[in-house]
């Protein structure tokens, strides 16, 4: 699993990521469970550690702005753009183009 930006949170992050992945592949994808209760404790512990690091580096303020920007994506279909782009795109294409 990938590292945390705060090395002091690495250990609890690793434990949480492992827990989440197990839940995701064994329960969530199989429709067995909607809530991720078994990892909630680890997640809270990880967040407690991470939030300090985000505050210290001033990233928390940047995140607030980004979340504000992202609000429309939560309610609407962001992938409309993609589907439109897809129609005019050959398979396995890779390109830089003008807007």
């Amino acid at each position: 699993m990938s590292a945390s930006l705060a090395p002091e949170c690495n250990e609890v992050k690793e434990r949480y990521d492992t827990c989440f992945l197990k839940w995701y592949s064994e329960k969530y994808l199989r429709g067995a469970e909607k809530d991720n209760k078994e990892c909630a404790g680890l997640f809270n512990e990880y967040q407690k550690c991470l939030s300090v690091a985000l505050k210290n580096r001033g990233i928390d303020k940047l995140l607030d702005e980004a979340r504000e920007d992202n609000k429309e994506n939560d309610s609407s279909n962001v992938w409309l753009d993609l589907l439109a782009a897809e129609k005019g795109m050959p398979a396995d294409a890779l390109a830089c183009g003008e807007a």
Binding site: M1, S2, A3, S4, L5, A6, C9, K13, Y16, D17, F20, L21, Y24, S25, Y28, L29, G31, K34, D35, N36, F43, Y46, L50, L54, I59, L62, L63, E65, A66, R67, D69, N70, N73, D74, V78, W79, D81, L82, A85, E86, M89, P90, A91, D92, A93, L94, A95, C96, G97, E98, A99
Partner: protein, 187 residues
């Protein structure tokens, strides 16, 4: 504004791809040195739709071209990306939307990624990014910044594909081993 677009077909099921996607930037990926950390900020399943919504913070370390460095100044070593993703297990769709948190007053990069099944054992990855330089001044400089970022996207996309193929391969091997171990325990 420049638009980067990319499509890849992976020969793995959507379940495998959507699971491996969570460890895309882990140690199995030897082609993503520019991503140094991935942190989960929030995670929740919508009780009505069953959609899993995750917010992540991605920390990158990638040297910018020298001429951009001298133009923008400051420490360009670390940059941050905010990502919101939505997994819909019903329609088997993963959608990820990302934007840059760093130098956001100079350039805006909005990326959208979708993973969806093509068949039971094939998954399509569709990526598009809109790159807009916001700094006032000469159009030539704006174009230069946009071109340079778009080229960077292209380079990263090639590496991203190679790296993710390896993650998928490793995930399948580990999953098979795990299954075998469980079966042996049951016997």
């Amino acid at each position: 504004m420049k638009v980067f677009s990319n499509q890849v077909t992976y020969d793995y099921s959507w379940d495998e791809v959507s699971t491996a996607n969570w460890r895309k930037y882990g140690p199995w990926n030897n082609k993503s040195e520019h991503v140094i950390a991935v942190d989960t900020l929030s995670r929740r399943v919508d009780p009505e739709t069953g959609v899993l919504r995750t917010e992540r913070l991605i920390t990158c370390k990638q040297a910018a071209p020298d001429w951009i460095k001298s133009l923008l100044g400051g420490n360009m070593e670390e940059s941050f990306v905010y990502e919101a993703s939505y997994v819909d297990p019903q329609s088997k769709t993963v959608t990820m939307v990302s934007q840059n948190l760093t130098w956001s007053n100079l350039v805006r990069v909005q990326e959208e990624v979708v993973y969806k099944p093509l068949s039971d054992h094939q998954t399509q990855f569709i990526q598009s990014a809109r790159i807009t330089a916001l700094c006032g001044g000469w159009q030539r400089i704006k174009n230069g910044i946009e071109d340079s970022l778009c080229t960077r996207f292209k380079e990263n996309a090639v590496k991203g594909r190679e790296g993710f193929e390896r993650v998928l391969e490793m995930s399948r091997i580990v999953f098979a081993e795990e299954k075998e171990r469980l079966q042996q325990q049951l016997m």
